[in-house]
């Protein structure tokens, strides 16, 4: 989706922007002057030590301003931290921001503030609690790791989802601080992954990816609920979860293939469609290999479908990654459309999306064929965009209908005639790739290319010839006429390197049809104007002469050479031509040319070395391959930075997706059964069919989420560390038996619908503060308005 700023810039006229910018420019001078005046550190310190909140705030604003500009502010540490206990929220916030940045450099002083922050964990305001846990985990002083861990423990069971989310993100920070806290942290993580609020779960997944990505045991019991929550999470949570589940699926859902007998006639439709990829050999019509998708994986695939309508392009690409790497190829069309539609976004997004499209199309071009017009290059496209677009066009080329083929070819031809040299080169190469990918079209592409040879543009000619050479070398037998046409182009071609390369080509195919070809004739014509050729071309002409002569010798020499035959040879035009060219070359200005002429002369003059000359001159050349420029990218995981950077780069932290696990090593699907029997039964029966939660269920769970760890909630207003007031159920949250009770109780509440919820709220009201209860009530009611997807 277009960003709001882009849309508003469309709506506003450009004049407003420039006017305001001009005003700002004139104003900026004033601001800087003012900054200079107020910049003295003593003044700032004085402000920070003031008793007036307003002055302190002003001082803090100055410090934050300097910090943001990159000026070192560590001198104010003591003065700033002094204010950490301020009751004013705004001051607190700014002090925290400062602490996050500078605590590392002054660990001892920072420790003084810990006590105050710890106290803030008990604040009535959820914002303050969340801020406290964030700043506590964020100040990188290793000594306090245990305090942080305790703080996280308390916040994990906080009644505010916002605080729990902050706690989830504090886990990786705590882990970095002190890796030995890992066992505690994973326990908290397990609790958070099972949270009822999708708000929290997203953050928990991020933490899981960061701290212990290989502890799959934590994910198993929550797999199904995670998949169900996917749709309701915020975009960033969706991204994290899709990343986690992609790897999870590879590791836990074995790729089971089942062979299915298909009646001969039936296979015609679907079998032929994917015949290249899946079916091999003659028995294709009888046996079709069908990938059996694990029902749990199917759940994920289905849950992803609505995400393809996300406004966040990263989510759409993540969905594409799921389909590319987890689903059978015939389901790719689901994501092809949404991916292509991202091309309407900003250029930066376009680039990333094109990289991903091309990497899919390298293997599966089919789903993109109907979007050919989306890949038309526009005049405003920068180089990295049109390169990818041309590649996409060539990849889908063999699979499209004639109409689209015409469109693509004329498009390529149009760009081949442009004035942007790079684009011309790339377009001609693209034509070549089109020709190679499908021999049926080769003739047409060749015609197109030959037309370019006569152009006056050197780049175009040179590039076309290279491509033509590749095409001819792949199938020399059928291209005798092409060589003749090329030789004819020598009359008009003017570019030196183009001429040289034509001459080389003619020489390369001088042996076709037992010498019954244009090579000798070409040589004769070229000999006329030998002196006016460029050195480059001259070298090739001499080489051509040598080749033609070598072929001639090979044809005539099987008989033992005698003195008489040599006399005859002198009369043959080819040998005459050869010696004429050598003579010309001998008196040329170029050393190189003279040397080469001498070499060819001596090597071909003695019959005994003819064989050697043949090896030297007429060795068969390997057929060059012109792979798609992005080939190799498809081995990377879709949507990764490593894929964009490509082969040249080595992106730190990139791990390829694991291979599918073998069926024998796959864990039992029963692991994924959620421990409580009552809910799981209901869930699976619903989950198999319904894509996500039904509308009512979503609303209900949203209503429940704010109060989900309600067992401890009445006390959460002012809990103490390790408070004995916490009921035992909270402590044993990870243990299935108690969790069962916990969930079962929740579930029954759900069934009783609003009545019981209100009751619960009443309970809450008794213990917690007025504000809190108001909040609860509002949640219960407003949640009814929540959308259900």
């Amino acid at each position: 989706m277009e960003s709001l700023s882009r849309i508003s810039s469309i709506l506003e006229t450009a004049r407003d922007l420039t006017l305001e910018a001009a005003q700002a420019a004139s104003a900026s001078g004033r601001i800087i002057r003012k900054d200079g005046k107020q910049g003295t550190s003593t003044q700032t310190k004085k402000l920070l030590n003031s008793r007036m909140d307003k002055e302190v705030l002003d001082g803090l604003r100055r410090v934050i301003g300097m910090m943001s500009r990159g000026i070192d502010c560590s001198e104010f540490f003591a003065d700033v931290v002094k204010n950490v206990a301020s009751p004013t929220l705004e001051i607190k916030k700014l002090v925290y921001i400062y602490l996050l940045r500078y605590a590392e450099s002054e660990p001892d002083l920072a420790l003084l503030s810990i006590n105050t922050i710890q106290r803030a964990l008990n604040d009535q305001n959820q914002l303050v609690r969340a801020m406290a846990i964030r700043v506590m985990s964020g100040i990188r002083v290793p000594v306090i790791s245990q305090i942080v861990a305790l703080g996280i423990k308390r916040c994990v069971t906080d009644m505010s989802a916002y605080v729990r989310k902050s706690a989830a993100l504090a886990i990786p920070k705590c882990y970095r601080l002190d890796p030995t806290t890992l066992p505690q942290l994973t326990e908290y993580l397990g609790t958070l992954l099972g949270d009822r609020s999708f708000y929290v779960v997203g953050a928990a997944v991020m933490a899981h990816l960061e701290v212990c990505p290989n502890k799959w045991g934590l994910v198993h019991p929550h797999y199904r609920s995670l998949v169900k929550m996917l749709i309701d999470m915020d975009e960033w949570g969706q991204l994290a979860l899709l990343r986690l589940l992609t790897e999870y699926s590879r590791r836990h859902f074995p790729a089971r293939k089942a062979k299915k007998k298909v009646k001969g006639g039936d296979a015609g439709g679907s079998g032929a469609f994917y015949s290249d990829e899946e079916v091999e050999g003659d028995d294709a019509k009888e046996v079709e290999v069908v990938t059996v998708i694990d029902p749990d994986l199917e759940l994920l695939l289905k849950a992803c479908v609505p995400l393809a309508q996300s406004r966040n392009s990263a989510v759409i690409v993540a969905v594409a990654r799921v389909y590319r790497h987890l689903a059978p190829p015939d389901r790719l069309p689901t994501v092809a459309g949404p991916l292509v539609s991202l091309l309407r976004a900003a250029v930066d997004v376009q680039h990333m999306v094109l990289v991903n499209i091309v990497s899919i199309a390298l293997e599966h071009p089919q789903p993109f064929t109907q979007f050919a017009t989306h890949f038309l290059v526009r005049a405003s496209d920068p180089a990295h965009i049109w390169r990818l677009k041309l590649e996409a066009l060539t990849l889908i080329f063999p699979h499209t209908n004639t109409h689209t083929k015409n469109l693509i070819l004329s498009e390529l031809e149009y760009f081949a005639k442009g004035y942007d040299k790079e684009l011309v080169k790339e377009a001609v190469r693209a034509i070549g790739r089109c020709a190679q990918s499908q021999t049926k079209n080769a003739a047409r592409c060749l015609r197109l290319l030959l037309r370019q040879v006569e152009s006056s543009d050197g780049t175009l000619v040179a590039e076309s010839l290279t491509v033509i050479r590749h095409i001819i070398q792949q199938d020399p037998k059928n291209h005798a006429k092409t060589v003749a046409r090329l030789a004819k182009a020598l009359d008009t071609a003017t570019n030196p390197s183009a001429r040289a390369s034509i001459v080389w080509l003619v020489g390369e195919f001088a042996g076709i049809n037992d010498g019954n070809n244009v090579a000798a004739d070409t040589l004769r014509i070229l000999a006329k104007n030998f002196h006016s050729e460029s050195e480059q071309a001259k070298l090739q002409i001499v080489l051509l002469a040598a080749k033609v002569y070598a072929h001639y010798l090979n044809r005539t020499q099987p008989a033992v050479p005698t003195e008489e035959t040599l006399d005859d040879e002198d009369k043959h035009p080819i040998s005459l031509l050869f010696s004429y060219i050598l003579l010309l070359a001998r008196y040329d200005l170029s050393y190189d040319l003279r040397d080469r002429a001498r070499l060819y002369k001596s090597i071909l003059s003695v019959p005994s070395s003819t064989q050697l000359a043949t090896l030297l001159l007429l060795a068969p050349k390997p057929t060059p391959q012109a792979p798609s420029p992005s080939s190799g990218r498809d081995s990377f995981t879709l949507g990764s930075a490593a894929m964009v950077v490509g082969k040249d780069g080595d992106v730190r932290g990139y791990d390829a997706l694991p291979e599918w696990i073998t069926p024998s090593r796959a864990p039992s699907p029963s692991l994924r059964e959620p421990p409580p029997s009552t809910t799981s039964g209901a869930d699976t029966s619903r989950g198999g069919g319904a894509m996500a939660m039904s509308a009512a269920a979503a609303v209900r769970s949203a209503g429940v989420r704010s109060a989900s760890p309600r067992i401890g909630s009445p006390h959460m207003g002012s809990p103490k560390v390790g408070s004995p007031a916490l009921p035992p159920t909270t402590k044993a949250n990870g243990v299935p038996e108690s969790l069962e009770d916990f969930l079962a109780s929740d579930d029954s509440e759900e069934e009783e619908e609003e009545d019981s919820e209100e009751e619960d709220e009443d309970e809450d009201e008794e213990d917690s503060e007025e504000e809190e209860s108001e909040e609860e009530e509002e949640r219960g009611e407003s949640a009814g308005l929540l959308r259900a997807k």
Binding site: M1, I97, R101, K165, P172, W236, Q309, R344, M352, Q370
Partner: protein
């Protein structure tokens, strides 16, 4: 591992090497902002939005976007989904504009460092995107006070002093709806919808459309109290419904939605958008519509655009001129407008004059034609146009056609091209010459004279060469720009928009609703 590590903002006007804003979410990165900036500058323009810097230690992935005059750089040292970072950066820009006022300028950031720091701190925690919804942020971070905002927008001077009467905390409560802040109160309940379509088209020399698409966006400005529940019905012309290969989405191709939209409703009743809107400005949905009825049939009716261009190159005695004829016609817009101007909201008859665009006949505005020029062009001579003015700047010439009143008719633009000489006064340009250079001609001349002896043939050749040279100096396409208010190329329109539920909006309060339509030429390329 994968985290957004830092954000650096550079002002490119005036260009500076020190950032005007730096914010680090993780511990101090190894590569400084200044060196990242110089490495960024070292890349040839146009730059990719993801630059891989293998020379830094550790190797850095540098993400960058440019907004107005501001350059946003965000380095990452380990694998991360590129689009995650880019989307996040766009979100940061949106939020900053929301808080500091549009357009976002360096000076505004400088004047509100405290707010910006709070926002960035809240939007990303430890490198993970945290709260990015503008409404949710409003609950957490105080906006610059109303007074300061007013000052900022009137004089362009953002407030440099804090509001004297700032409240201790915005709200103790957080909204349960992630995208809508709690306790919304408005004295005037208003609802504005903007439907904006950008036309992207490529037109072949023959005049046939190779591709024509309309990319639509539905932008909202919602000022409703409480928690309203809205239902918007879109009407799409039926001709697009049976599009080949398109999913049945009621004519809108590949829509994407703001998270507030209930997707199940859309799935069951395509064209109906049911949602609880965020407060303030937001983008509700975007879609694309193929204006070519179907990819294959050549006989199909071609889409009509209000501005059409006919480009002729290589004309004149020396074939060194090109001419463009522009036809502006609003005639065919009229039928569409009749349905549009009918007030879709019968409740209110008096329309604000600001919405005049849809009540009058749509007029074509801001018409301009841009010709990208090849590097071989030295300058333009004897340029004339029947209307408007032109501006030649480097590698392109832009011709602006004023359309005061309801102008429709034709206008012509004609110019001669002077090709760069190869004498070598500007040698750096010479290597870029796509045309043959003089050196070659020296070789060619003796050859032809010797071979043919005749002068005529040589002359013909030279003429041909000159012609070719001219061909290489001709523009290959024209880019058309225009905007039409009150008309949508795709024919989509808002059929209905009503408050169907929710709470907080008093009984009998009828919010004022306004709809605007705007079509702009996003990228229309006429080839020749």
């Amino acid at each position: 591992m994968s985290a957004v590590e830092a954000l650096y903002v550079f002002d490119s006007f005036p260009p500076a090497t020190t950032p005007i804003l730096q914010h680090e979410w993780r511990s101090r990165p190894a590569t400084t902002a200044a060196s990242l900036h110089s490495l960024y500058k070292a890349q040839p323009s146009p730059r990719s939005s993801l630059i891989y810097l293998p020379t830094t230690s550790p190797p850095t992935l540098l993400f960058n976007i440019i907004h107005n005059n501001l350059l946003f750089l965000s380095p990452t040292t380990s694998e991360i989904e590129p689009l995650l970072v880019l989307e996040f950066l766009h979100r940061v820009v949106d939020v900053l504009e929301d808080y500091l006022g549009s357009p976002l300028l360096g000076s505004k950031i400088e004047a509100n460092y405290d707010i910006v720091a709070q926002l960035l701190n809240e939007m990303c925690d430890d490198g993970f995107p945290f709260t990015t919804e503008p409404n949710a942020l409003r609950d957490v971070v105080l906006p610059p006070s109303l007074m300061g905002k007013l000052l900022g927008s009137v004089t362009g001077l953002p407030s440099t002093s804090i509001p004297s009467s700032f409240t201790p905390s915005p709200t103790q409560t957080l909204s349960t709806i992630p995208w809508r802040r709690s306790n919304v109160r408005h004295t005037n309940n208003e609802l504005y919808v903007d439907l904006i379509e950008l036309i992207t088209a490529t037109i072949a020399p023959s005049g046939r459309f190779l591709s024509a698409r309309s990319n639509g966006t539905i932008a909202f400005n919602c000022k409703l109290s409480g928690v309203p529940d809205l239902l918007m019905t879109l009407q799409t012309p039926t001709s697009h419904k049976q599009k080949l290969g398109a999913p049945p989405t009621g004519g809108l191709g590949f829509p994407v939605f703001h998270p507030c939209v209930r997707l199940s409703r859309w799935r069951e009743h395509p064209g109906e958008l049911s949602f609880v809107p965020p407060d303030g400005k937001f983008v509700l949905a975007s879609y694309e519509i193929d204006l070519l009825p179907s990819g294959n049939s050549k006989s199909a009716i071609q889409p009509q655009l209000p501005v059409s261009v006919e480009l002729k190159t290589g004309i004149g005695s020396l074939s060194s001129e090109f001419e463009a004829r522009v036809l502006i016609s609003t005639a065919f817009l009229a039928p569409t407008i009749n349905t549009l101007s009918a007030n879709p909201f019968g409740s209110r008859s008096s329309r604000s004059p600001a919405f005049g665009g849809s009540s009058n006949n749509p007029a074509v505005e801001e018409v301009s034609i841009t010709f990208p020029l090849p590097p071989a062009v030295k300058t333009l001579t004897s340029t004339r146009c029947s209307r408007g003015e032109f501006h030649h700047d480097g590698r392109k010439v832009t011709w602006k056609i004023p359309t005061t009143g309801a102008f429709s008719g034709t206008a012509t633009f004609r110019t001669g091209v002077v090709v760069k000489s190869y004498g070598g006064d500007d040698s750096d340009e010479e290597e870029e010459e796509p045309v043959d250079n003089g050196e070659y001609q020296d070789v060619q001349t003796p050859k032809t004279t010797k071979a043919n002896g005749g002068n005529d043939e040589e002359k013909a050749r030279r003429e041909k060469k000159a012609k070719r040279k001219m061909e290489m100096a001709m523009p290959r396409c024209a880019l058309v720009a225009f905007s039409v208010k009150g008309w949508l190329a795709s024919g989509v329109k808002v059929d209905n928009l009503k408050v169907v539920g929710g709470k907080g909006l008093g009984e009998g309060v009828k919010p004022y609703k306004g709809v605007k339509y705007l079509t702009k030429a996003g990228d229309i390329e006429v080839r020749c």
